[in-house]
């Protein structure tokens, strides 16, 4: 026990001394405030760089990964302590990355030793920024119907087709993709999970503009793009298993990022903006905010319970779908409430924070498998309801 206490004390002191003041404060969404790494990255300011480099050098961009892969090899208990201590001073994450959240866990689970040694350290050290290449113009919710084609020719994969909704695809260096490699197999069994370098003539991207003015996505085109033969994760034709595993991670992450502990509460925004009297004059809004706070609190407790269950080895395989569904719907209402609180001011500025939340909320209900897809999963697998 006292070992952990020591670890907590050391961690606290280190964070106090090393986390710049400007890197502390409430979570600001997945914006440019945070560092995303990669070959094309530039630091926004000195503090961003300092904080990232200090954390990287301790292996704390990925505290639980083995030291040989750029992590710190922390056990669960120590990783939790680090997280709690970071939260205590509201330290921002030093490195945001699909590599950390998605590809890394997939490689740790399915990758060969060579793949791990090649890719994990570069993710941990923020050297390569990864994109996710699943969706296609013709394959959204029915992802397994995808048609981007891969053929093994002269010892390398040759890929043709296109992916869409590639988040930040123009800023990324490499892309993990789902590619149909066994055209004659049943649809779920003919897909491979292939890692492709985007820095080659066969890969091009085209930006897509969103209703909130951002252009965070691209369409990615593969025109005889190539990847070495050993860049397939998991067995050839078994890419769907890798994806299912990863989507679980993604959904849980989207869902748990909607809780109060990571975002500013709607009630505190309301108090700051409208004051107690303003809210009293608007009892309908007051109750709507309270209801939202209750649901948000419940979601936070559910995330806490999920962690406790994990520690007790009682993982529920349906939690990612539950969190994704409930978290994103909550976020919808959050965006709407922030707009109501912002009133005339909020509708007059496309770049304002409430507008950003309001217009981004629908995206969360679609990304990572739409909420109907989550409901389908729960109906069929959690409840065992029959197919039509």
């Amino acid at each position: 026990m006292s070992d952990l206490d020591d670890f907590r004390a050391e961690t606290r002191a280190w964070l106090e001394a090393n986390c710049p003041q400007s890197r502390r404060g409430a979570f600001r969404g997945f914006s440019t405030f945070n560092y995303w790494g990669g070959r094309k990255a530039v630091f926004q300011d000195e503090d961003q760089q300092l904080w990232f480099e200090r954390m990287r050098d301790k292996g704390w961009t990925v505290p639980e990964w083995p030291v040989e892969y750029g992590g710190a090899g922390l056990d669960k208990a120590r990783a939790n302590i680090l997280q709690q201590e970071m939260r205590r001073i509201q330290a921002q994450s030093p490195l945001q990355s699909l590599g950390i959240w998605m590809l890394g866990p997939a490689l740790l689970h399915f990758g060969t030793p060579e793949q791990k040694a090649e890719h994990l350290p570069k993710i941990a050290r923020g050297e390569i920024r990864w994109a996710q290449g699943y969706s296609e113009p013709g394959a959204g919710s029915d992802l397994a119907s995808l048609s981007t084609k891969g053929e093994l020719k002269d010892g390398q994969w040759v890929v043709n087709g296109s992916k869409i909704w590639t988040t930040n695809g123009d800023k990324c260096d490499m892309i993990f993709t789902l590619v149909r490699t066994e055209p004659d197999a049943p649809k779920h069994q003919g897909i491979s999970f292939i890692l492709i370098d985007m820095d080659q003539p066969g890969v091009t991207t085209k930006p897509i503009k969103l209703i909130n003015g951002d252009d965070p996505f691209v369409q990615t085109f593969f025109d005889n793009a190539t990847a070495p033969a050993d860049q397939v994760v998991g067995p050839r034709g078994k890419g769907w298993d890798v994806t299912k595993y990863l989507l679980g991670h993604e959904r849980e992450m989207i869902g748990s990022s909607m809780t109060n502990s990571v975002t500013e509460t709607v009630s505190s925004v309301a108090k700051a903006k409208l004051g107690a009297d303003g809210l009293k004059a608007d009892p309908g809004l007051r109750i709507a905010i309270a209801q939202h706070e209750m649901e948000s609190w419940i979601l936070g407790i559910a995330v806490e319970r999920l962690k406790d269950m994990g520690k007790a080895k009682q993982f529920s395989q349906f939690s990612p779908s539950v969190l994704k569904l409930m978290g994103t719907e909550l976020n919808y209402r959050r965006g709407e409430l922030l707009m109501s609180i912002g009133g005339f001011e909020a509708i007059n500025d496309l770049m304002s924070e409430p507008v950003h939340s309001y217009l981004h909320a629908p995206a969360n209900c679609i990304a990572g498998g739409s909420n109907e897809v989550q409901l389908n999963i729960l109906s069929k697998r959690a409840l065992g309801l029959p197919e039509l």
């Binding site: 108090k271 209750m294 419940i298 319970r305 409901l375 109906s379």
Partner: protein
């Protein structure tokens, strides 16, 4: 404590479930209702619950109780929700809590063993208005006597003791009243869930203070929290049970040549309820754990749990009834009994509206 059950708690749940499905199934409630019995619970079942250690298990060992905590009481309440077991469980938990909080040493020694053994049914005479309202009382205590009217005293019919909240110069006090004393009129109610409750009039009825009058306020507040957390747990049990029965029906009922559970319109509604139940389960356990740990947030967590479960259990019942079609609205199907109990349990000690307002003010300062 983590938000998962301990081994002891899992054993307790199994024991409670085993006992209740055998001795107090839904059919027993139905039979009791149809018999016209005025007590509305079965004393022999209550006696067996005492033998199993299911009555007020949260009373600390130092006070002669089992010391199993509020979580244990909540888990039993949850199982009682599954079978709609009509027992004076909540009244016993409330009475025990009040005595533990403020009772004098003699009062504790006298009352607690009897309550835990199931030998003394105590009614908590608290409400006075149309809806739950903990803010003040019009019942008075003067010169050793209480006067006024209390509403919806749970298990008030046949209770051998009442604990009455009444106003004194030093604020609200708690008073022990013998229901057979002068000036007491017990008027049985006919609650839609077929459980025992009464309105009670007091006219210059002799009353003895329970502990120090000045300590009553905090004890009442604490006890209301406990009652809310236990009702939330019961509501969770009811909602889970009604939901499971509905999902089973979706698989079994055939229309258009296929099970109705294959229709996506129904699947998604069921899946949404599954998600909400899965989420809210944590809040129910968290409130109980917070009571056990003396957490400052306990009072708000009890409101969160009771408010959320009142709303969720109702939403489950609406779907449960609807998805059963015509038979869902008949008395023959048990679903209607769950529906009625949900309404009563939601109304007691504050419904979703009450707790939303309380949380708005006290937890979020709006």
């Amino acid at each position: 404590m983590p938000l998962v059950l301990t081994e002891d708690e899992v054993m307790l749940v199994d024991a409670a479930r085993g006992f209740l499905t055998k001795s107090a199934p839904v059919s027993a409630l139905r039979a009791l209702r149809d018999s016209g019995d005025t007590l509305r619970y079965t004393p022999s079942v209550w006696g067996e619950m005492a033998e199993n250690g299911f009555i007020a298990p949260h009373v600390p060992e130092a006070e002669g109780g089992l010391g199993m905590g509020y979580a244990a009481a909540g888990l039993i309440a949850e199982q009682m929700g599954h079978t709609l077991a009509p027992t004076p469980f909540l009244s016993a938990a409330i009475a025990a809590e009040l005595v533990v909080q403020v009772g004098s040493a003699e009062q504790k020694a006298d009352l607690l063993p009897k309550i835990i053994a199931g030998n003394l049914i105590v009614g908590f005479a608290f409400e006075e208005g149309l809806r739950h309202n903990p803010a003040g009382t019009a019942v008075t205590f003067k010169d050793g006597k209480v006067s006024g009217t209390k509403k919806i005293v749970l298990d008030g019919v046949g209770a051998k003791l009442l604990i009455v909240v009444a106003a004194t110069d030093a604020g609200p006090g708690l008073f022990l009243v013998d229901p057979s004393a002068a000036g007491v009129t017990v008027r049985p109610l006919d609650l839609i869930d077929s459980r025992n409750a009464a309105d009670v009039d007091f006219a210059d009825t002799p009353a003895t203070p329970l502990g120090e009058v000045g300590a009553a306020k905090a004890a009442i507040a604490r006890t209301l929290d406990v009652a809310r957390a236990l009702l939330a747990a019961e509501l969770l049990g009811i909602a889970d049970e009604a939901f499971d029965r509905t999902v089973a029906y979706l698989k079994e009922r055939v229309q258009f040549g296929r099970p109705i559970g294959s229709f996506q319109a129904l699947q998604h509604r069921a899946a949404r309820l599954y998600a909400r139940l899965d989420l809210t389960r944590g809040a129910v356990l968290k409130a109980l754990r917070a009571l056990d740990e003396g957490d400052k947030a306990a009072t708000m967590l009890c409101s969160l749990s009771k408010g959320a479960m009142s709303k969720l259990a109702y939403d489950v019942m609406v779907e449960a009834t609807h998805m059963h079609g015509g038979i869902g609205v008949t008395d023959e199907l048990d679903i209607g009994l769950f529906y009625k109990r949900v309404r009563v349990a939601s109304e007691l000690f504050g419904d979703a509206h009450f707790h939303t307002d309380r949380i708005a003010t006290q937890a979020f300062g709006i």
